[in-house]
Symmetry: C2
Subunit: 294 residues, 2 copies
Amino acid sequence: MTMPDPTVAIMSPGDMGHAVAAMLRAHGVRVITCLEGRSPRTRSLAEQAGIEAVPDDDALVREADLLLSILVPAQAESLARRIAAALERTGKALIYVDCNAIAPQTARRIGQLVEAAGGRFVDAGIIGPPPRTGTRTPFYASGEHAKSFAVLRDFGLDVRPVSQRPGDASAVKMCYAALTKGTTALMTELSVAAERMGVTAVLRQELSESQQAALERMIGNVPAMVPKAHRWVGEMEEIAQTFEDCGLTPKTYLGAAEIYDFVAHTSLGTVSPEQWRDEGRPFEQVVALLAKER
Amino acid sequence: MTMPDPTVAIMSPGDMGHAVAAMLRAHGVRVITCLEGRSPRTRSLAEQAGIEAVPDDDALVREADLLLSILVPAQAESLARRIAAALERTGKALIYVDCNAIAPQTARRIGQLVEAAGGRFVDAGIIGPPPRTGTRTPFYASGEHAKSFAVLRDFGLDVRPVSQRPGDASAVKMCYAALTKGTTALMTELSVAAERMGVTAVLRQELSESQQAALERMIGNVPAMVPKAHRWVGEMEEIAQTFEDCGLTPKTYLGAAEIYDFVAHTSLGTVSPEQWRDEGRPFEQVVALLAKER
């Protein structure tokens, strides 16, 4: 396939979607989306980012060469159904790239939906921060059409095909997030527990003597997690599903989901990322405030 | 209290108990134990370590100034009942130090048992490896008699009184183990999941690029955990109980207990620590072998 000037649909443009769109735009790619039913604020942000809004899903799939699904995990499957319906109506053989943090089994189910409607499916998993110049943000990709997604390497995305099998890219993403976000969940839980039991100072001293590296990660990662906790709940549930599908216990990550759900429902968890950054609350204060809420 | 030459009872002399006994013995302390119903191997090991066996619990509490309970968590409470009965029979006001990895609530319950029988209770939590010259092995201690336990500072033990409240030392231990052994549980689970899903190589490459420090800990800590997994199951359950008592989810650590229970029941988990050390299996091989077992 030659695709010198691809048109890329992004659904839906949130934090990650916007950064991907900006990167592609900076490399001359036309980026489109469908904002039916979305807020005026979302429309205005998309316009500012140079994302072109098309009137409906049928127009979206007709005009796009690739569609990137970038959502919270719970919405991945319903978007796939919506787009599959548009593919059936239009007969378009779109390349559908699911970039969400979902279990491999979920990714394969979405792949079947898309392919049954005539689309070409790519399973992808994004690791790292929203891509900007200087960030390291690999897009792992698997499935027989992963190479078609890899054309976006020429337009600023670090796409890394890993295998012919849909689900493998999601598997890498799940295991990676299990390590990073799973560890942060444990650190959050044990810090809040220590605070509620009144042993924060002794624990802190012990960790500073014997676990300095872990203590530094706690101090950095727990506060940074707070405004993202609501988004991580679903991701932890997908990891639990992934590991259960492998014959392992889902409890660890169902527990991690509960920890993030707890944080998301505190007064801190509802502050916007911008406000959170501006307030710059240190670790000790975050833990003390979380410990006071039930 | 003046106690220039204390007699210390250790129940029961396992890996940790033996090291503690050896340290005390090296500092001139008489160490006794009661081996009723124990194997000839245990008796012979105790004798080699210079631990004096007394015939029964009544003799044990009569001759000891302090008793250190060093067991797997599940046995902590039943030993306390046994010793409480001996205290009642003998009228001895022994200092009973529970050094086990148990929930603060469990420690306080044991304290009530011991004090109702006329004993003086100290809650303790051991952090680090069995104490030997050059190791860092603090014994955190709490409760009004913690200072009486601290006399053993003069005999080679790094006893650190933290508060007047029984349970605080156990709380520190629980939170510390939640970090170290909890993280190792996650690392084990995600490594086995990656192997079963066939993405070990891609994950390894990603971690080596973006999470080098965590990868190094995985490579070191997962193999080292294997021969200890059976002992860590109960400790994870105590952490789950501790956190639930704080109003947090117990699921994360019930999951960690299941992971260690899985490892303990594989063919690797039943190898002796000595044999395990001699075999020196590397991380990749351990994960591959665990992944094959169900």
